[in-house]
Amino acid sequence: MGNKFIQLQDVKKEYQTGEVCIQALKDVTFTIDKGEICVILGASGAGKTTLLNLLGGMDVLSSGTIQLEEKLISTMSKKELTSYRRHDVGFVFQFYNLIPTLTARENVEIATQICRNPMNPDEALQLMGLGHRSNHFPAQLSGGEQQRVAIARALAKNPKLLLCDEPTGALDYTTGKAILKLLQDISRKQQMTVVIITHNQAIASMADRIVHIKSGSIAYCKKNPDALPVDKIEW
């Protein structure tokens, strides 16, 4: 395979809480190609969020290596990790994590303030169909709208990698579907690599690559050559 974008090698993550040591991830090895949509499946507590946090440089691994293009993320210092998050990664969370005291536009702006070649915040919001709501505060927006602001915030940084942790978890069916469609469209249009965590098996069919985690290890990682557009999926 030619364009390996992300490579994980024997990744292990342990949590030490007092006497007990919890092994959240072990022997995780797989790759993701550039421009792919990768869906990570697994039961609750399997280690999905842990994996995503490692990919996004939000946490450090216990052993193994993670590489993004030429960058070796697993050996980065705290400051380098911050810089990596700042320029290369965009995050979307289940509970949006918007800053309640900032308007939609300002929530995007706070991200674009600090990176190298950001999108115009208004453009990013327009892309998400929220151009007319840019002066509203999170409390004045619906859950779906808030999630779209969160995606606009992640995208406006022009990241190389977009990480989404159960982006539709708190949304209803139609809204969830609309969000997923937005993500798919962006990935296709901008050749952006997108990693999506979900509980929902059905969503997997929109992905180019499906990774299944079972109690901390990879159960399987397979390519899905005939990924469906989100419109075609029903669940």
Partner: protein
């Protein structure tokens, strides 16, 4: 309370120890500062009261120009309200020790009144023994010989029947509790301490004075005591006058050489140490009355914010417990106990720490001047109960108040997350001109500051309180320094005051100047004397000065601010500001003055001048003559580089007071104020730290997700810190600005609380004090921010974002 709630309480304390400590610390600080200062005055007065009572400090002193005989003294002793009358002799004489001659005041060892104590060695028992002043002598001097110098005048020498003594002890006397020993006509004019010898060592057939002690006593410096003294004074003076006059009348006409004898009555007020000690305790009391109130206010607010934050965090837990069937009161109990126990501990350490530590600091400070006894600790139980009640009420009240609202809600509502605060535009956004100039992140900070109103209010209060305390503290120091500088550099311009024993007519004045090489412009001759200004309850002593010429500017610079005052016309007087305030008489009104004979006259006030120590009236010689009778020039104010000794050699000179000596004396005693200023600075710092730390902590925990989010977005540690801490800086700017104004007011309040009759404290604060106060406030914020920096760095992104609030 069952096992589970007890466990939950303990766990709450353990997991939020910084919150628990915040309540503990602010209560301890408030209670400690308040109780410590409150008790300081009491401790000071009690120490002096005990000492004066034990040493039988006099109530009245009678002096007559012809002295008193033992019979007269016995008569006085028999007066109805008098417990004792005791004769006393005192004589200024040069004494020689280690081949060096210095002026001492030699006193007869009393048996009943004004008893000296030996701090080392013992009191004299035989004629060849003496006890000396422990301010000027050390234990090593015990056993050394001290003798009356043969260089004393014949008059002085003839007063002693014994001239050679051995020092058998050093000690102190209730007559001299401050470092001041007064001035003398001998040597360089300054007394080098007292020497107690047995009465029979004096040759004098008559006593120079009689000390009286009343049968009943009151608390020291109390109103009751003043009233008792007022009631007795005329009666006693009259009795003494009758006795002395009877003796005078009895002597045959041809042996009468002198004028009719005069009798003077003095009270404790004229004793330097006694009066000064009272002033110093008043300064402490003035500070105690104002500053601590503020700490209590802040303490209550800290309790409220801390407890509401805690209740906020534990909403869900409260809901679950309610759902399980716990009663609201048993749930509230946890918070009540949490806050109450923190406050109780705080009270305990604060109260006992405060009443132990603060009087000690003040005692050490004033010990430079006074060291007549050891500090005795006492617990003021009413004060203890009062502070305990306030602490418990405010903490428990805060806890009740915080959870009352939440517990009114049905448990289902508690279990649901709180409705998020609605986003709103804030006031500064409407000021387009400023808003446009701010960078994006600055805008965010401004908005956050304005959004969290409760925190903004608390923070501004705490910070402005800190700044205000500092301003007031430095301001008090300014007032004291300015007092000395203004009085002795700005108002009194002469170098020495010379007293003459005979009236100086113009011939004598010219001779005096010639002999001492003084030019006309170096000398201001004046009529001067003491008068009383009757007030509603008591009277104030003032000095009337009637300069022989109207050109007095180079001796007394009489001005009010920038305005120079003109010399008063006939029937008019210039009076000092404090006197004008005390008597409630301003320019144009009439001041009632009582001369030494007790007759009252009215003078029109033609101007009020700035003056800081003592009360003065300036009148023209004619006015003096008209109002106060026989005007004799017995004083001169001079400019000279010469020595006191040279002036004292002139036969007509009876005393010389060097302005610089008085200045030094007052300056030294005022040094004690520095310790108080340090105490205030430390307390202000503690206040700033507790408030800033606690509120920043609350701010950070409240906004954990927000901070984690910006860290995820890739804010570097420094950027993330300034994102949050910039708000502290903004609030510090606001708080410090407010505090500078508050401080000015607080300072004025404290200065007005200091009820010292004959000192005027200016309410001017120097620029430096303002700057220093503001700068220190920023330093405190900076230190708190540094501590918070590491706390922010430790926030774990993944974990903080996992929880749903």
């Amino acid at each position: 309370m069952n096992q589970v709630t007890k466990k939950m309480l303990l766990r709450s304390i353990k997991y939020s120890i910084s919150r628990y400590l915040a309540i503990f610390a602010i209560v301890a600080l408030g209670v400690g500062f308040f109780s410590g200062l409150k008790i300081s005055k009491k401790v000071m007065v009690d120490a002096a009261d005990t000492y004066f009572k034990k040493q039988e400090m006099f109530d009245f002193l009678l002096i007559s120009t012809t002295g008193f005989t033992p019979d007269e003294s016995a008569e006085l002793d028999g007066l109805p309200d008098i417990r004792w009358a005791e004769e006393s002799i005192s004589l200024d004489a040069l004494g020689i020790i280690n081949q060096k001659a210095s002026p001492y005041i030699w006193l007869s060892l009393p048996e009943k009144i004004n008893l000296p104590t030996a701090t080392q060695g013992r009191l004299p028992q035989t004629e060849g023994e003496c006890l000396v002043d422990d301010d000027f002598f050390s234990a090593e001097d015990i056993g050394k010989p001290l003798s009356v110098s043969s260089f004393n005048t014949q008059d002085v020498l003839s007063g002693f029947s014994q001239t050679d003594y051995t020092i058998v002890g050093i000690g102190n006397s209730p007559l001299y509790i401050s470092g001041d020993r007064g001035s003398t006509a001998l040597g360089n004019g300054i007394l080098h301490g007292f020497v107690y010898i047995l009465p029979k060592c004096f040759a004098s057939p008559v006593f120079s004075g009689v000390y009286l002690r009343l049968k009943e006593t009151d608390d020291l410096y109390s109103e009751a005591y003043e009233q008792r003294i007022e009631k007795q004074r005329d009666k006693i003076a009259e009795a003494a006058r009758t006795l002395v006059l009877a003796r005078y009348e009895a002597t045959s006409h041809d042996t009468r050489k002198e004028d009719q004898p005069q009798v003077y009555l003095f009270t404790r007020k004229e004793n330097i140490g006694y009066g000064r000690y009272e002033n110093d305790t008043e300064i402490v009391a003035g500070i105690a009355n104002v500053f601590p109130v503020f700490f209590f206010l802040v303490a209550i607010l800290v309790c409220v914010t801390t407890m509401s934050r805690m209740v906020d965090e534990e909403r869900t837990q409260m809901g679950v417990m309610q759902a399980m069937g716990y009663s609201t009161s048993s749930i509230a109990m946890k918070y009540v106990l949490y806050a109450g126990s923190a406050a109780l501990l705080g009270w305990f350490f604060g109260f006992f720490g405060g009443i132990w530590l603060i009087p000690q600091i003040i005692w050490v400070a004033y010990g430079i001047t006074y060291h007549f006894s050891e500090l005795s600790y006492g617990v003021d139980w009413p004060l203890a109960l009062l502070t305990l009640a306030i602490s418990l009420l405010s903490s428990v009240g805060a806890a009740e108040y915080s959870c009352h609202h939440e517990l009114q809600l049905p448990p289902a509502r508690l279990l649901r997350p709180r409705v998020p605060q609605e986003g709103k535009r804030i006031l500064p956004e409407k000021i387009k001109f400023i808003w446009k100039r701010l960078t994006f992140l600055q805008k965010v900070s401004v908005r956050n500051v304005a959004r969290y109103k409760k925190r903004m209010f608390m923070m501004v209060l705490g910070i402005s309180g800190c700044t205000a305390l500092l301003v007031a503290g430095f301001g008090i120091r300014d007032a004291v320094v300015q007092l000395v500088d203004h009085q002795y550099d700005d108002v009194l311009k002469y170098d020495m005051e010379v007293g003459f024993n005979t009236p100086m007519d113009s011939n004598a004045a010219v001779k005096f100047m010639e002999k001492n090489g003084l030019e006309d412009e170096h000398c201001l001759f004046a009529y001067s004397g003491g008068v009383e200004i009757p007030l509603r309850k008591r009277s104030l002593s003032a000095t009337v000065i009637a300069p022989a010429t109207t050109e007095i500017k180079s001796f007394f610079h009489l001005h009010r601010g920038e305005e120079e005052l003109t010399f008063p016309a006939k029937g008019e007087a210039l009076i000092n500001i404090k006197l004008s305030q005390k008597a409630g008489v301003g320019t144009g009104s009439f001041l009632v003055v009582e001369n030494s004979k007790g007759t009252r006259v009215k003078l029109r006030v033609s101007g009020v001048f700035d003056n800081y120590v003592d009360h003065y009236l300036f009148v023209s010689p004619q006015t003096y003559l008209d109002s106060f009778g026989h005007a004799q020039i017995k004083t001169a104010y001079i400019h000279t580089e010469g020595t006191v000794t040279a002036l004292m050699e002139y036969p007509k000179v009876s005393f010389v007071t060097v302005k610089a000596d008085i200045r030094n004396r007052i300056e030294n005693s005022m040094k004690s104020i520095n310790a108080i200023v340090v105490l205030i600075v430390v307390c202000a710092a503690a206040l700033a730290f507790i408030v800033l730390y606690n509120l920043t902590n609350i701010n950070i925990t409240e906004r954990l997700r927000e901070i984690a989010t910006i860290k995820v977005l890739g804010f570097y540690a420094k950027e993330a810190a300034s994102y949050v801490l910039r708000e502290n800086i903004l609030l510090t700017i606001i708080g410090a600005a407010v505090g500078l104004f508050l401080g000015k007011g607080l300072h004025a309040l404290v200065v007005n609380m200091i009820v010292v009759d004959y000192m005027f404290f200016s309410t001017n604060i120097t620029m430096w004090s303002f700057l220093l106060a503001a700068a220190l406030t920023f330093v405190f914020t900076f230190v708190v921010n540094l501590v918070m920096l590491s706390k922010l760095d430790k926030i774990h992104m993944a974990e903080s974002l996992k929880t749903v609030e």
